[in-house]
């Protein structure tokens, strides 16, 4: 009959109203938490929780209690705050050449005072303008020494466009939590950047770092 579908639709919305399983919205970054849930998170029942921490219980009952929420994200998530290892970087600027937007700026020291240590330039400027970055990851693919990795964070909001330019000091100070995107050697170690641990420069390369003897053999004794 004309109109029965409308009645069925009202049944659907009523199920949304009463069934808790239909409430799947994620509240990010903070979630309002009820007393029962709060007690369950602390492995007690609601009454003993309310007796032990009455202020938290009152906050939860009046709807003021909040807990932080982290979103699930894959370890290959390509985020902001690039993980850059200055010990691995030779200043070859492959990343800058491959960047389709040209937003990486590298200036190296050409005085040659480090040349006897293995021909490595000193890097003076390494700017990445992530305000224009599209996170394609070509810079990471291009890096021959696995010095540059995508980051894993995304909560990098700032109030000014100029603050979006990551300079070398911020790159050095950034937490070394590389995304495992295009880095199978980190992924095979079951590294998860969301777990909170970091990776040192010795662990992130595709190759073993040559020992001092090998380097002497390769460069000084040839």
């Amino acid at each position: 009959m004309y109109g029965l579908g409308m009645v069925r639709g009202m049944g659907v919305t009523f199920k949304n109203l009463v069934l808790p399983s239909r409430q799947f919205a994620v509240q990010y970054p903070n979630r309002k938490i009820s007393l029962l849930e709060l007690a369950r998170e602390n492995d007690t029942n609601a009454i003993s929780f309310a007796v032990n921490n009455p202020i938290q219980a009152i906050k939860a009952l009046t709807g003021f209690a909040e807990v932080p929420v982290r979103l699930d994200q894959h370890s290959r998530f390509r985020g902001e705050e690039f993980a850059w290892y200055e010990q691995r970087c030779t200043g070859c600027a492959s990343c800058a050449k491959f960047c389709p937007l040209g937003i990486i700026k590298i200036v190296t020291d050409t005085s040659g005072k480090y040349e006897q240590d293995g021909g490595k330039y000193d890097i003076e400027v390494f700017d990445i303008d992530i305000g224009r970055c599209m996170f394609c990851g070509l810079c990471v693919q291009a890096c021959p020494y696995d010095a540059l990795h995508m980051g894993s964070g995304f909560e990098e909001g700032v109030y000014s466009r100029n603050d979006l330019v990551i300079d070398i000091e911020r790159l050095k100070a950034a937490p070394k939590k590389p995304s495992t995107w295009y880095r199978p050697q980190i992924e095979s170690q079951n590294f998860d950047p969301q777990s909170g641990d970091t990776r040192e420069y010795l662990d992130v390369g595709r190759h073993e770092r040559p020992s001092q003897d090998q380097q002497v053999d390769r460069w000084a004794n040839r």
């Binding site: 004309y2 919305t13 949304n16 109203l17 239909r22 409430q23």
Partner: protein, 395 residues
């Protein structure tokens, strides 16, 4: 506390010669109380509506500001009050400014005649139903004023659609109330309440359904929110409004469900009648709340109708249904009424039986007829001449 009680209380302290001052002061006190209570109720209702809509649609709704988001209406009002109040250069300034007030006042004025207790506590009007129908008809004018004065084509579209729709839906609404008036033998709301031995929602279910459909069109809520259909018209007649004027429009719009719920409670749900230990005002609030809930449920579920569907629904669906109800009740009254024009509860039970059968049969018949019409006029899909170029080249 009714008007008379307050008037007599104040009258004791002043001499006879300045009674008119007492009268004015009493009226001011009561109207101030009622208006403020209504505005507060509406603010709370916006919170309730948004929370419930969220739950109905598997969302959460406002929950950030205050416990469970309860302070959200206050935040909204502060935001609207401090926004710039823009009047377009080409607008008709006087009409533009007057339109929100003209929309708000009828919603408030209806509460004069609603009997919250034994009597309505603001004014004793023995033509309550006529008063409500007349006063709520004014919102057509307000919408036309807002749309016309804005000098904006979307606002004018919304206003013209609104005028067509509101005037059409006045007819089934008034006709569905006529059935109640025949049965009660009075057009005073207090008499209608006291005559309900059995609630009229049971005696005249058809009238109730027609009234609710027509009323939700009258207040232009979903599924009848053609006036401000956001996907087509921006915001309809209040496209150009901002700041406090927009706030007043929103206030009037959100007050309308409360007004409708109060009227439906009085006319169909027995007003303050209930089981004894709980006072009548509580019963009134419970009934009004359930009506509001059903309105919300409908709003959360059904999509918006097209313009032609809305007009067809009024004239081909609701109008015949209300006429059927009106005739059936008239015939029943002719057969069953006592010599003094009243109806006993036994006669009403007979009416309940007949009217439920009539409701089911007439709704099925009209729905089938309308549905058949839809099926017959359905054209087979015509592919675009451009879409199948390869196929047409083949033959």
């Amino acid at each position: 506390m009714s008007f008379d009680q307050l008037y007599n209380l104040l009258d004791r302290f002043v001499p006879e010669s300045i009674d008119w001052i007492v009268f004015t002061v009493t009226a001011l006190i009561l109207s101030l109380a009622v208006i403020n209570a209504m505005v507060l109720c509406t603010a709370l209702y916006t919170w309730f509506e948004r929370r419930m809509l969220g739950r109905f649609q598997s969302r959460i709704g406002p929950n950030r500001w205050g416990p469970f988001g309860l302070l959200q209406p206050i935040a909204d009002v502060i935001k609207l009050l401090v926004k710039e109040d823009v009047i377009p250069v080409v607008a008709d300034k006087a009409v533009f400014t007057l339109a929100p007030v003209v929309l708000l006042v009828p919603a408030l004025v209806v509460f004069i005649v609603i009997p919250f207790g034994e009597q309505s506590f603001l004014g004793k009007l023995n033509v309550g139903v006529l008063f409500i129908l007349g006063v709520t008809g004014v919102n057509t004018l307000a919408i036309i004023m807002g749309g016309w004065a804005s000098r904006n084509k979307y606002a004018l579209f919304g206003a013209m659609r609104g005028a067509a729709m509101l005037i059409s839906y006045e007819v089934p609404m008034a006709l569905s109330l006529i059935g109640v008036i025949i049965l009660a033998g009075s057009i005073s709301l207090a008499d209608i309440v006291s005559s309900q031995g059995i609630f009229y929602i049971l005696v005249q279910p058809l009238a109730f359904l027609v009234f609710m459909a027509a009323a939700s069109a009258e207040m232009s809520r979903a599924p009848f929110d053609m006036i401000e259909s956001e996907s087509e018209l921006g915001a309809g007649y209040h496209t150009e409004y901002s700041g406090i004027k927009y706030a007043i429009f929103q206030l009037a719009e959100f007050m309308a469900p409360l007004v409708t719920a109060a009227v439906a409670t009085v006319v169909f749900l027995g007003g303050t009648k209930g089981i004894d230990p709980i006072p009548g005002q509580v019963w009134f609030l419970l009934k009004a709340f359930s009506v509001v809930f059903v309105l919300l449920w409908v709003r959360a579920t059904w999509p918006r109708l097209r313009v032609d569907q809305i007009m067809g629904f009024a004239w081909k669906g609701l109008f015949p249904l209300s006429v059927i109800n009106f005739f059936v009740v008239a015939v029943e009254m002719f057969a069953l009424q006592e010599p003094d024009g009243t109806v006993t509860n036994q006669s009403m039970m007979i009416m309940v039986g007949i009217n439920w059968v009539v409701m089911v049969v007439s709704i099925v018949v009209i729905a089938t007829v309308l549905g058949q019409g839809k099926l017959q006029h359905k054209l087979p899909p015509q592919p675009s001449s451009l879409a199948n170029m390869a196929a047409s080249e083949g033959d």
